[in-house]
């Protein structure tokens, strides 16, 4: 099974819908350890992306998404997700249909792009803690002969585990500060949206539901943008 524009469009539409549905969760997570706008920012970005889903091939489609996210999301998530999609787009330049190896190349390029753009790495309680494991799992699966569908499932499961594992981590950037210690016990919002992104690639409802779960130990602290639902 190979992946073309149709499958990518379906995945992106699903991701936009999931972000819309779970934007309060993302914002709640971000209110505890961020500036309480991740949900709204991603929602705005994905809505803009939906209206620009055009392109001759997967690379063009991914680039269009990247540009929408870059110009509409803002803050730190905009450049990070924008770079992820932009690098993924470059990794699959010129192809009409993507095979398993292309998936790995795209994830790898996205991962490296986010690392560079965010000047971050695994273990610092960021989206890389979901994206890194997803990449590893996809690569391992494909090396073992898995097809795209199977590789994506493995990637989604790994991303979800990675997301949950951010809970006990202290945000690196907050290490010396009062808020840094408070970040322990909260699931990272960026890792959450990334886990949701990877899960949406599979189209599997169970995986998608799991990805949107909050495994935090502590309730998000009261912060701006948190609405009682």
């Amino acid at each position: 099974m190979s992946v073309g524009n149709e499958q990518i469009t379906t995945f992106l539409q699903r991701f936009a819908a999931e972000v819309a549905e779970h934007r309060r969760l993302l914002t709640r997570l971000d209110s505890a350890i961020g500036d309480a706008d991740h949900g709204e920012n991603m929602h705005r970005g994905m809505q803009a992306a939906l209206s620009r889903l055009e392109g001759d091939n997967p690379a063009a489609l991914l680039k269009a998404v990247s540009m929408a996210l870059i110009s509409k999301v803002g803050g730190a998530a905009g450049p990070l997700y924008g770079t992820a999609f932009l690098r993924a787009s470059k990794a699959v330049e010129g192809k009409d249909a993507l095979e398993a190896a292309d998936l790995v190349a795209a994830l790898d390029a996205a991962f490296e792009g986010v690392k560079q753009r965010g000047k971050s790495d695994r273990g610092q309680k960021t989206m890389l803690d979901a994206l890194g494991p997803a990449l590893d799992a996809a690569r391992k699966a494909v090396d073992g002969g898995a097809d795209v569908s199977d590789a994506l499932r493995r990637a989604a499961e790994a991303a979800d585990r990675g997301k949950r594992e951010t809970v006990p981590v202290q945000a690196q950037r907050g290490r010396a500060s009062y808020l840094g210690e408070r970040s322990i016990g909260h699931q990272d919002p960026g890792a959450t949206s990334t886990a949701m992104l990877i899960a949406c690639m599979t189209g599997d409802d169970e995986l998608i539901t799991a990805a949107a779960e909050d495994a935090s130990d502590k309730p998000p602290e009261q912060g701006p943008g948190v609405e009682d639902t």
């Binding site: 500036d35 870059i70 803002g74 905009g78 907050g174 010396a176 912060g223 943008g225």
Partner: protein, 331 residues
Amino acid sequence: MKKLINDPTDVVTEALQGMELAHSDLLKVSYDPHVIVRADAPVQGKVAIVSGGGSGHEPMHGGFVGYGMLDAACPGAVFTSPTPDQVQAATEAVDGGAGVLHIVKNYTGDIANFEMAGELAEDASVRTVVINDDVAVEDSLYTAGRRGVGGTVLAEKICGAAAERGDDIDAVVALCERVNANVRSMGMALTSCTVPHAGEPTFELGDDEMEIGIGIHGEPGRERMKLEPADAIVARLLEPIIGDLPFSDGDRVLLFVNGMGGTPLLELYVAYRAAHALLADRGITVERQLVGNWITALEMAGASLTVLKLDDEMIELWDAPVHTPALRKGR
């Protein structure tokens, strides 16, 4: 929290429309994307200076657009970094063929968005200098390394003057780096602030508490403690500043006492008195001054101190004519 706004989602656009009307002789504003540009841009043959950041810190940066300071400012959503398309549009609008300098405050979002703009741009020869003058914390919630705060205002004025007198891009970049290397800041808050669409303060601070070492979005700093008299607070801010560069006996400085937006000028001058005395005690001479609300956090009560070690060239450039909505002298 009561605010003088209409629909919270329209605040930035409406404020920009107001600015454009109030300062039509100085500025042109575009809305898709949001960019504030000096009315006579592009100024051919002059290095152009672009900065930007979240809205909510006015007059920084839009209030500094005009002769002798910024060529363009990119206003993001409140307390949110501007997007690369804003930066790109600003850069293209002001490029006079002598290069463009991006002055970027050290916040993760600002750095990432300005970097992306640099990658996406094709024509302008863009150089970037990052301002990171805050001594309060190393690695905070929003940054790797130190935050860019009050020193940014001084860098924009001094470099704006250098560009206006015709310095080339290498010289303006070197100057910006020199200003950054010689300036240190630290701030404190008596209250939090409320972002328009949030409806609630960004953090809680008790009636008898203050937070030392805050950033310009009210992010946490060094510590929360009981409120003290102004002289003691000033010492808490100034000692780390002096010790960090370090500033020493015989230095000539610019002393900048900045209000976070909600503190009266009356109190800023009380703080200025204390700061001036403390510096004098150390044999440090205040040659130039700036007092007022220049880099704010909406209605946050509090103040920040910035001290810049001056040399003859910086003094000349600080004194040079400037005409922007916020700062005007010599014209």
